[in-house]
């Protein structure tokens, strides 16, 4: 098999599968095309996603549909203040074997699923959050001195509610950095609401979804995405974008960087390029374009920059400040 044919097989197949997956999810999750695209990107880039949105916008439904379409094992953790780390990671329990011998055996928690939906993660205590985030970072759980590998692929979809913040434990910045994307689920349009009634009034369409791929396909496509070419000029552009988010308190009044107190981390740069590679494959390319970087810039950066208090009091949010930064960055390309 020649290299061209192999490329046809690999990238062409990956492109087709990603397009199919996107089409299926967009049929089920009506009016959230951008969120669906970012979710697929994060999954194939081996990242985790923090989804923020009001109740009833279909966050849980989205996770279920994604797991069903890809044939992934999924679990749900509903976070509450009394949720303990062992409730998430698992615990050793005393079991008695059939022969009468008793011993402690590790019983995996819900984190040992390929797709974990952590609902309202900011209601869990920091201790539980830390246990979960350690699993996200290391892809393993250590219990009683024994490390247990998490399944692969492994993706955490954590949700949080932007309202009802009383009694919650907001994620610290260091833990927010573990999420590749932070997605905001917008309110659907009027037309999308109409279509939603046609699709999901009496049934959960995600329950009837047939998988179009399996976990192996996910791993294979994710591996293929790691071979996507990134030109030196595109790397420079990504670095420029990260540098552009660094604070500049003495900047001109028109400079959006003056609103930023802490900029994006090098981990953000890695997430940026990894996500851009998946976007390239979704677009049928084996090379990253600057537009791929721009497309994932906002979900990668919005939870990684910290604004100055004065700017927040002025009503400026991360999306507003980063939007100006990205616009200026693209103009300089």
């Amino acid at each position: 098999m020649t290299s061209d044919a192999a490329a046809d097989d690999a990238f062409g197949d990956a492109h087709r599968r990603l397009q199919d997956l996107r089409a299926i999810l967009e049929r089920v999750i009506v009016g959230q095309e951008e969120v669906v695209g970012h979710l697929i990107t994060a999954l194939f880039a081996s990242g985790h996603v923090l989804i923020e949105g009001l109740p009833g916008l279909g966050k849980t439904h989205l996770a279920k549909a994604l797991a069903a379409a890809l044939g992934l094992q999924w679990a749900r953790v509903q976070c509450t203040p009394d949720l303990m780390p062992a409730d998430v990671t698992g615990a050793e329990i005393y079991v008695t074997a059939a022969g009468g011998a008793s011993t402690f055996a590790f019983r995996p928690g819900p984190v040992f699923a390929q797709l974990v939906l952590v609902d309202e993660i900011n209601r869990a205590t920091p201790r539980t959050q830390s246990a979960l985030l350690e699993a996200m970072q290391e892809s393993q759980v250590t219990h009683a001195g024994v490390s247990h590998r998490l399944p692969s692929p492994f993706c955490v979809l954590a949700t949080q509610n932007p309202i009802e913040l009383e009694g919650t434990y907001p994620l610290p910045e260091a833990q927010l950095d573990r999420f590749m994307f932070k997605l905001t689920v917008p309110f659907p349009t009027r037309d999308a609401l109409h279509r939603m009634l046609d699709v999901s009034l009496d049934s959960e369409p995600s329950d009837t979804l047939q998988p179009i791929a399996g976990p192996e396909d996910v791993l294979r496509i994710a591996q293929l995405c790691r071979t996507v070419l990134v030109a030196a000029r595109c790397k420079d552009a990504a670095v420029d974008l990260i540098v552009a988010t660094q604070p500049d308190p003495g900047g001109a009044s028109a400079d959006p960087r003056r609103h930023i107190r802490y900029g994006a981390s090098p981990r953000a740069l890695q997430a940026l390029v990894r996500a851009a590679r998946v976007r390239a494959v979704m677009a049928g390319r084996a090379h990253v374009d600057v537009d791929d970087i721009a497309a994932v810039a906002l979900p990668v950066l919005r939870h990684r920059v910290l604004l100055r208090l004065e700017s927040e009091l002025d009503g400026i949010d991360a999306d507003g400040a980063l939007g100006s930064v990205i616009e200026g960055w693209r103009a300089r390309l």
Binding site: A7, T227, L229, A231, A286, V290
Partner: protein, 376 residues
């Protein structure tokens, strides 16, 4: 095959960018040349003459320099590839292709390189079509038009006779002249004094006919003013020698007629002063006929007609009072002084105003001469 196809696109884009650079250089050269020609015009008019040949050489040099810059500014392959990626929908394929050609593909990314090359090759026809299609280009016409207009204007101005531009240069030089340096204006002072003296003589001799070459025919006294033409205590003398002696302020300035360069022969002004001496004993500076007229202007015929002091009529001397003249002030060789007259003489309106009298003022002078002539 793949490399050749992509290279074709790069070559086409390089040619396009080169042409754009040349047009940009021409546009810049046009604006610079327009500015240079305007600058040359200003210099020619205000400072010094600018040869047309020198201006043309400068314009040619500007054009040659800009075009040489454009020719030397050859777009590189990465620049061309990046331009395709950003402007022709290359989606960074051509930049990546250039990167891939400089390094050997590894086993991991061999499939990606192959896919990318196929993608770039498939994109080449679209790139070439976009390049051949209508694209926004550098607009050269405004700058070229401006340059042509400015060049024509400059040629017109630079080819004018030198006499046309010299007054502007003199004016600009006068602006730059220090206040104490009045050499240029002093050159005209004898002429002014001479003309003033002629006017004074005409006024004094009431029988003399109106001279047609005077600036103001109405300034000459009419025939009715001939009663005292003997010169003794004649009111004509004060009228010609400037009534500035009335107040002795602004008009008692050193006269250009006292300048050594001034002709010292028997002039009408001197005669007027002598006549004034016979009329009184007070110092009389009215023989300083050119005093108020010297700074007036460069045209002698009009300078004597200056009417810069409209309040002089209001400050008419008391005609009932006897004038007191000092003839020594008009004596040649005597140092010039600004001595104030001890007493205000009954004098007619100043000669400076008389020389440039309005009809009402002329009629006033004539009436005064009629009224005072027989009694004296």
């Amino acid at each position: 095959m793949n490399d050749a196809t992509v290279s074709t696109a790069l070559v086409s884009v390089r040619r396009h960018l080169w042409r754009e650079d040349a047009l940009l250089a021409m546009r810049r050269a046009g604006w610079i040349c327009a500015a240079a020609t305007l600058f040359a015009v200003v210099v020619h008019l205000l400072a010094r003459p600018v040869p047309v040949a020198a201006l043309l050489v400068v314009l040619v040099l500007i054009f040659v320099a800009m075009l040489a810059w454009a020719a030397a500014h050859r777009p590189s392959d990465p620049d061309c590839a990046w331009w395709i990626d950003r402007h022709l929908g290359g989606a960074s394929a051509f930049t990546t292709w250039l990167d891939a050609t400089t390094r050997r593909p590894t086993a991991e990314n061999a499939r990606a390189v192959a896919w990318m090359q196929r993608w770039a090759v498939a994109k080449v026809p679209e790139v070439l079509r976009s390049l051949a299609g209508p694209r926004p280009t550098v607009r050269v016409a405004p700058s070229m038009l401006s340059m042509i207009v400015c060049a024509l204007l400059a040629l017109l101005v630079l080819m004018l006779p030198q006499e046309a531009a010299s007054p502007l240069r003199q004016n600009s030089a006068g602006v730059a002249q220090p206040p104490g340096d009045k050499a240029a204006t002093a050159v005209d002072a004898p002429v002014v004094a001479q003309v003033a003296s002629e006017i004074a003589g005409a006024l004094r001799s009431s029988d003399s006919p109106r001279e047609p070459d005077r600036g103001r025919p109405g300034a000459a006294p009419g025939p009715g003013t001939t009663a005292n033409d003997d010169g003794s205590g004649s009111p004509d003398a004060p009228s010609t020698s400037g009534g500035a002696g009335n107040d002795g302020t602004s008009r008692d300035q050193p006269s250009a007629s006292r300048d050594p360069t001034t002709p010292t022969g028997p002039s009408p002004s001197a005669a007027g002063s002598v006549a004034g001496r016979e009329a009184g004993d007070s110092p009389d500076t009215r023989g300083d006929v050119g005093t108020a007229r010297v700074p007036g202007g460069t045209n002698p015929a009009r300078g004597v007609g200056s009417r810069s002091m409209p309040t002089a009529i209001d400050r008419q001397a008391d005609m009932a009072r006897q004038a007191d003249f000092d003839d020594s002030i008009a004596r040649p060789g005597r140092p010039m002084t600004n001595a104030m007259p001890t007493a205000a003489a009954a004098t007619p309106p100043p000669a400076a105003d008389t020389a440039g009298l309005s009809p009402s003022e002329t009629s006033y002078v004539q009436a005064w001469m009629k009224a005072t002539g027989p009694g004296r």
